[in-house]
């Protein structure tokens, strides 16, 4: 795969919840290793895009390609058929996701949260997986809590475990869905620091839905501003945050700054 071929290619997708059209013919591309920030008012469809890429929501129309391969369709004898569960499972190997509310498994210890999926899906022996899990927990600064249960952790600690858990499957693309929105302000930074580390130490493609505008500015290679299911404006962080061209982008950023967020 050459550096000029997009790793994610979204082509005219639409999605409705009942009569509410969340995405309307949306197209976008993401290059390998790119760090993308998706910003915009709630209900603008940015989280839905992540959920669609993780196959948590199905699309009503359009196509998505991951590394040149159809996500929701499979080719059989030159025909495009809806993807079956096996195809989806294979495609999901490329993608990981971290959720706003962590979604840890409450009945499993920290290390078991991390090792469960690799052991089940890759069949690697427990010892090897535990060693890897400890490395990942060390990377997110949670190695000393490996034996703890999720209920014993703070929000920031839970989210760092959730990141280690997603990393354990070695995805090429990581989706971060408002990963700091549910955290107390003083816990936000410890999670953002982990994202910085991932950025420096891995070559994952990262898509980030966030309300942390300061972080989005510093972290992202490219920022997409969403409103009503469409990309209203996109560009380098400096262009979007310092000099937005669209009125809706200006209005949104003004509101965010008024609410006390740093840009």
């Amino acid at each position: 795969m050459s550096a000029t071929t997009p790793i994610i290619k979204i082509d005219g997708i639409s999605k409705s919840f009942g009569s509410f059209k969340v995405l309307d013919g949306l197209s976008m591309q993401v290059m390998p290793r790119e760090k993308l920030a998706l910003i915009g008012p709630s209900g603008s469809g940015k989280t839905t895009i992540l959920r669609i890429l993780m196959t948590l929501e199905r699309i009503d129309g359009g196509h998505i390609q991951i590394e040149g391969e159809q996500l929701y369709h499979m080719e059989r004898n030159g025909q495009l058929l809806p993807a079956d569960e096996r195809h989806l499972a294979r495609m999901r190997q490329k993608i990981g996701m971290v959720f706003q509310l962590f979604n840890l498994f409450p009945h499993k210890s920290v290390i078991d949260n991390v090792t469960l999926a690799p052991m089940l899906t890759k069949g690697t022996p427990r010892a090897a997986e535990q060693k890897r899990a400890m490395e990942l927990l060390d990377m997110v600064g949670m190695a000393d809590k490996a034996k703890a249960m999720p209920a014993q952790l703070s929000g920031g600690q839970k989210q760092r475990v959730a990141i280690a858990r997603a990393l354990a499957l070695q995805p090429k693309i990581m989706l971060f869905d408002e990963v700091t929105s549910a955290l107390d302000p003083e816990l936000v930074e410890e999670v953002l620091n982990v994202l910085w580390r991932l950025c420096a130490e891995t070559d994952m493609t990262m898509l980030l839905v966030t309300h942390e505008m300061g972080f989005a500015h510093d972290f992202a290679d490219r920022v997409l501003f969403f409103d009503r299911g469409r990309i209203v404006e996109e560009g380098k962080p400096d262009e979007i945050f310092r000099n937005p061209k669209q009125e809706r982008t200006q209005g949104f950023l003004k509101k965010i700054i008024a609410a006390g967020h740093r840009v």
Binding site: M54, T55, L56, E85, A89, R92, Q93, G96, M97, F99, L101, F102, N103, L104, F105, P106, H107, S109, L116, A117, L120, T121, M149, P150, A151, Q152, L153, K158, R165, A166, L169
Partner: protein, 219 residues
């Protein structure tokens, strides 16, 4: 003056039969509860229909009639059952139907975010069910399973009607032989109550053990 010690031995023999029935019936009920409860949640219409038919049928007909059917009617079509087998079958299937709804409800009570975590971690449907959803749902099921087990214990007394020598049957024997009603029935009343207490206590301690580390907060 009646010699109570011999009669007490008789009642204890009955207690053993009641305990045996309760244990075996509970095992069958548990198996049926998971089969039918998961069947209700299946993607496949046939499985859902079978599970629903089973649950509605066994909840909707009397345990007496089910027992009589198992013991008196099944032999007519070639299934000869001992009283114990008929008792376990009727009790297990009957209580299993109630418990199946407990299984279904508990599985459905586990939040969508847990299912989504399973998908995001690429677990298969069954893997997610087995390792993530069911272990959490089981904790939700336990208290109601305790109720079901006590219901089953109390329902075992119907087997006395097909001459299985359980607690109730033996109490009637004692009553017939001694002419005393108060002593045998008071005795078995207390024994049933103690057995029910043991079930409650057992389920509660199991619950406590399994809930360790989980404190109900969102994780």
């Amino acid at each position: 003056m009646t010699q109570w010690s011999g009669y007490f031995g008789l009642i204890m023999q009955g207690a053993l039969v009641t305990i045996e029935l309760t244990l075996m019936g509970s095992v069958l009920a548990l198996v049926m509860a998971f089969l039918a409860g998961m069947g209700r949640l299946s993607r496949f219409f046939v499985l859902r229909a079978l599970a629903t038919a089973y649950i509605e049928f066994f909840r909707g007909t009397s345990i007496f009639v089910q027992l009589f059917f198992a013991y008196f009617v099944l032999p007519l079509v070639g299934f000869e059952l001992t009283p114990l087998q008929a008792g376990v079958l009727a009790l297990g299937l009957n209580v299993g139907a109630y418990a199946a709804e407990v299984v279904r409800g508990a599985v459905q009570s586990i939040g969508r975010e847990q299912h989504e975590a399973c998908i995001a971690l690429n677990l298969g449907r069954w893997q997610g069910m087995r390792h993530v959803i069911l272990p959490q749902a089981f904790l939700v099921m336990l208290p109601t399973f305790g109720n079901n087990a006590i219901e089953l214990l109390k329902a075992t007394s119907v087997v006395s009607l097909i001459s299985l020598a359980d607690l109730t049957f033996q109490a009637q024997v004692v009553r017939a032989q001694t002419g005393n009603t108060m002593v045998p029935f008071t005795t078995i009343l207390v024994i049933y109550f103690i057995l029910a207490l043991l079930i409650s206590w057992g389920v509660r301690s199991l619950e406590r053990r399994m809930a360790r580390g989980l404190d109900g907060v969102r994780v």
